[in-house]
C-alpha cells in the first residue's frame, strides 16, 4: 500500500493531470526523437529515406515537438506537481485545470497536423517553416492559430498556479512562500513577460497575414519579436530542470539543499534578466545598431551568474548528501553517491553536460566571435547539450523518480534506466562534439545535404567524413536511448507492483528561507523591475526597426504562395 502522505493518495486529481501532461510530453518526445534519427542519418548521407526537400518538414516537426511540446508539457506536469506539493493544497478549480490542459493539447494538435500536411503533397496544408517560422516564409493559418492557442493554454496554467498560491496565501498570511512554489511563480512571471513578444508577432501580424487579411509584416520586426520570446523560452525549458536539481536531487543524493536563499536569488535573477537579452540571437542581423547588440551582450554575460551560482549550490548539496552517506575525502565523497539510481545518475550527467553546453554558449554570446559560429552546425551542437541534454536528460531522470509518485507503480527496471541515461550521455558526446567541430569547419545548420559542389569544408583535425559518421553514430545511440526510456516508463505505468517508500516530504535546506530578507518574496516588485528592464532593452530597438522599414513595408510576398487568402475563398 502507498503511505498516506504520498502524493498520489493526497492529490489523486492532480496526479491525473500530471499523468495526462506527461503522456503528451512523451509521445512528442518519441516522435521527435524518430525525426532526430532521420535527420542525423540523412544529412550525413548514411541512410536516406526521404527526399531532401522533405527534410525541412521533418526538421520542423523535430524542433516543434521537442523544443516546444515535450519541454513545455513536461514543465506543466512538474509545475502542477511542485506547486501542489509545496503549498500542500490542490488547485482552486478542477474544470479550470482541465480547460488549460485542453487548450494546450488542442493547440498542439492543430500545429502538428499543419506540419504533417507538408508530407502529403495533395493537401494544401503545410508548415515547413521550422520552429522559428521567420516571415515571409509562410505556414498554413492552422499552424499559427494552434501556436497561439497553445500559448494561451500556458498562460491559463500560470493563472491556475497563481490562484492556488493566492488561496494558500489567504490561509497562511505572513509565511514565506514555499521554495518550489516560489520557483513556479517566478518562472511563470518570466513566461508572461517573454510570451508577449511571440503573442504580438503571431496574433497581430502572422495570423491576419496568413489569412490574407493583412499585408506581409516587416520581417525584421517579426524576427525581433520572435527572439524577444526565443531567448527566455530557453530558461523556461531550463527552470523545471533547475527545480528538480534544487529540490529533488539533494533528496535523492541523501542530503539537503545547501542554501534556500541563494536558490531564490537565482530564480529572481532569471526573472529579471531572461528577456532583455534576445537581441543576442541577432548579432549578425542587418537593421539593428551595434549599440543595441552590445547592450544585449552585456546582459547576456550577467545572465551567466545565476547558472554559475546554480553549479555551486547543486554540487555543494550533492557533496553534503554524499558526506551524510559516509563519503569522505577531497574527491572520495563522489564514491558514496547513489550511482546505481538512474534518477541520480541521469541528473548528474545532465548537469555535467550543462557545464559543457555553458562553455559553448559563452562562445555564442561573445558578440564578435559569434561571426565564426553563427548558424553553423555548432549551434545545434550547443543546444543539444543544453536543452537536448541538461533539460531532456533531467526530465528523463526525473521521470524515474516522479512517475512512480503519480502512478503508484514501481519503476519497471532500474538497470534499464541506468543504461539508458548513460547511453544518452555517450550518444550526445558523439553527436554534439561532431556538430561543434563541424560548425568550426563552416558546415551550416538546417540543411539536408552534407556536401556542396562549390565548397570544401576544412576541419582543424580529422576529416569531415569522419565527423559525419560520429554524428550519425551518436544520433543512433540517442534514438535507442529514447526508445528504452519510453519502454521503461510505459512498462512502469502498466506495472502491477505498487511503488514503495513514496514519502512526499522533501528535506529542508541547510540554510533555510528565514536566512533571507522577506523582500525576496515580493513577486510584484520583481515583476515590475523585470518589465522596466524589458522596456529599457527593447523600446529603442523596436522603435528604430519600425522607423526603418515600417510595420508593413511594400514589396514583401509570402513564400510559398499557396495559401488562398480567406477573403478569396469566401468570395
Amino acid at each position: 500500500m502507498l503511505p498516506d502522505n504520498s502524493f498520489l493518495i493526497q492529490y489523486p486529481h492532480v496526479s491525473r493531470v500530471v499523468r495526462s501532461l506527461f503522456l503528451t510530453a512523451f509521445v512528442a518526445f518519441g516522435v521527435g526523437a524518430l525525426m532526430g534519427l532521420f535527420q542525423a542519418l540523412h544529412r550525413t548521407n548514411v541512410l536516406r529515406l526521404f527526399d531532401s526537400t522533405d527534410y525541412y518538414t521533418l526538421l520542423t516537426l523535430h524542433g516543434v515537438l521537442l523544443a516546444i511540446v515535450f519541454t513545455i508539457f513536461f514543465l506543466a506536469g512538474v509545475f502542477a506537481w511542485a506547486n501542489t506539493r509545496s503549498l500542500d493544497r490542490p488547485p482552486v478549480s478542477k474544470p479550470f485545470t482541465w480547460f488549460w490542459v485542453a487548450a494546450m493539447s488542442l493547440g498542439t494538435t492543430m500545429a502538428g497536423v499543419s506540419i504533417l500536411g507538408g508530407l502529403i503533397p495533395a493537401s494544401d496544408i503545410s508548415a515547413d517553416v521550422l520552429f522559428t517560422f521567420y516571415a515571409p516564409l509562410q505556414a498554413h493559418p492552422l499552424f499559427y492559430i494552434g501556436l497561439a492557442l497553445f500559448i494561451v493554454g500556458t498562460w491559463l496554467a500560470g493563472i491556475d498556479w497563481f490562484r492556488q498560491f493566492l488561496a494558500w496565501r489567504s490561509e497562511n498570511p505572513g509565511e514565506r512562500i514555499p521554495l518550489q512554489s516560489f520557483m513556479v511563480l517566478t518562472t511563470m512571471l518570466m513566461w508572461f513577460i517573454a510570451t508577449m513578444g511571440v503573442a504580438v508577432e503571431v496574433v497581430v501580424f502572422l495570423i491576419p497575414w496568413s489569412l490574407g487579411l493583412m499585408p506581409a509584416p516587416n520581417p525584421l520586426l517579426t524576427r525581433t519579436l520572435f527572439w524577444f520570446f526565443g531567448h527566455p523560452v530557453v530558461y523556461f525549458w531550463l527552470m523545471p530542470a533547475y527545480l528538480l536539481w534544487y529540490t529533488v536531487l539533494p533528496k535523492i543524493s541523501g542530503g539537503r539543499l545547501f542554501s534556500d536563499p541563494l536558490a531564490r536569488v537565482v530564480f529572481v535573477l532569471f526573472l529579471l534578466l531572461s528577456t532583455p537579452v534576445g537581441i543576442h540571437h541577432q548579432y549578425v542581423d542587418p537593421g539593428i545598431a551595434e549599440g543595441f547588440k552590445f547592450i544585449a551582450m552585456t546582459n547576456t554575460m550577467f545572465l551567466l551568474l545565476p547558472s554559475l551560482l546554480t553549479a555551486f549550490t547543486v554540487v555543494a548539496s550533492i557533496e553534503h548528501g554524499a558526506r551524510q552517506r559516509g563519503g569522505t575525502g577531497y574527491f572520495g565523497w563522489l564514491k558514496a553517491l547513489p550511482w546505481r539510481d538512474p534518477a541520480f545518475t541521469g541528473m548528474a550527467l545532465a548537469g555535467l553536460m550543462f557545464a559543457a553546453g555553458g562553455f559553448s554558449g559563452m562562445v555564442n554570446a561573445g558578440m564578435n566571435i559569434n561571426y565564426l559560429v553563427h548558424n553553423t552546425i555548432w549551434v545545434p551542437g550547443h543546444f543539444h547539450l543544453t536543452v537536448g541534454t541538461a533539460v531532456a536528460l533531467t526530465f528523463m531522470a526525473g521521470s524515474y523518480w516522479l512517475v512512480p509518485r503519480i502512478t503508484g507503480r514501481e519503476l519497471y527496471s532500474r538497470p534499464i534506466g541506468l543504461f539508458q541515461v548513460v547511453l544518452w550521455f555517450i550518444g550526445m558526446v558523439f553527436m554534439s562534439a561532431a556538430m561543434h567541430r563541424g560548425g568550426l569547419a563552416g558546415i551550416p545548420r538546417r540543411t539536408a545535404e552534407p556536401q556542396y559542389s562549390q565548397i570544401a569544408f576544412e576541419t582543424v583535425a580529422g576529416s569531415v567524413g569522419n565527423l559525419r559518421l560520429q554524428m550519425a553514430f551518436g544520433g543512433v545511440l540517442l534514438f535507442v536511448s529514447a526508445l528504452l526510456f519510453l519502454v521503461n516508463v510505459g512498462l512502469t505505468a502498466m506495472n502491477n507492483k505498487p511503488a514503495r517508500g513514496l514519502d512526499a516530504a522533501l528535506p529542508p535546506a541547510l540554510s533555510g528561507p528565514e536566512q533571507s530578507p522577506t523582500i525576496l518574496d515580493n513577486l510584484k516588485l520583481w515583476a515590475l523591475i523585470a518589465v522596466v528592464l524589458v522596456i529599457l532593452a527593447y523600446s529603442l530597438p523596436l522603435y528604430s526597426i519600425v522607423q526603418g522599414a515600417g510595420l508593413y513595408p511594400a514589396g514583401h510576398e509570402a513564400s510559398p504562395a499557396v495559401i488562398a487568402p480567406l477573403l478569396e475563398v469566401i468570395a
Partner: protein
Amino acid sequence: MHVHDYEKLWLGASLLLIVGFISTIVYGAVGAGVVMVNDEGGQVNPSELGNTTGFDDPGVTKVGPGEYEVHIVAMQFAFRPGTVELPANSTVTFYVTSRDVVHGFQVVGTNANTMVIPGEVSKLTVEFDDPGEYGIVCHEYCGSGHHGMASELLVKEPSNFTMQDDTQTQTGGNGTTNATATATGGESA
C-alpha cells in the same frame, strides 16, 4: 542574509569571469576593430531591386585603390552573381539583400557572416590578404531548395585579376568554377 564564505568566493570569481568576458569583447570591438553588422546598410524594396542602384546589376565595383564593393542579391535558391572574383590584398565591402525570404550569407571558413533579410541591406567589410577559393553558403533555411543555395568567391593574385564586365547577364547553371571573367548564376537546386 547569510551567505557562506565559499559562496561569496564563488560569487566573486563568477563576477570576475563575466567582467573578463565583457572586456575581451570590448577589446575585440575597440582594439581589434571587429565591427558588427549594423543598420548602416539601410532599407530597400525587395520587389524593386531591379531599379535599385547597386542591386540592379549585382557584382563587383572598384571604388578606390585596393578597395571594392560587392553587391549581392540572395533569392530562392541562388546568389547573384553566382561567382565573385576579387584580387588579393583588397578591402571589400559587401552589400547583401534578399529578393524574397530570409537567407544567410557566409564565406565559409572566414568570419564574413550575416543574416540576409528582405527589405534590409547587410553591409560588411572584409579584408582578403591572400589568394584562395572560398565557398559562399546560405546558412538560413529559406525553403525546400535551401540546400542547393551556394556560390563561390575567388580571390586571385592581383596580377591575374581583371575586372569583370560590369554589364554581365545572369545565366542559369550550377555555378561551377569558371576562371573567365563572366559570372555564372548559381541556381543549382
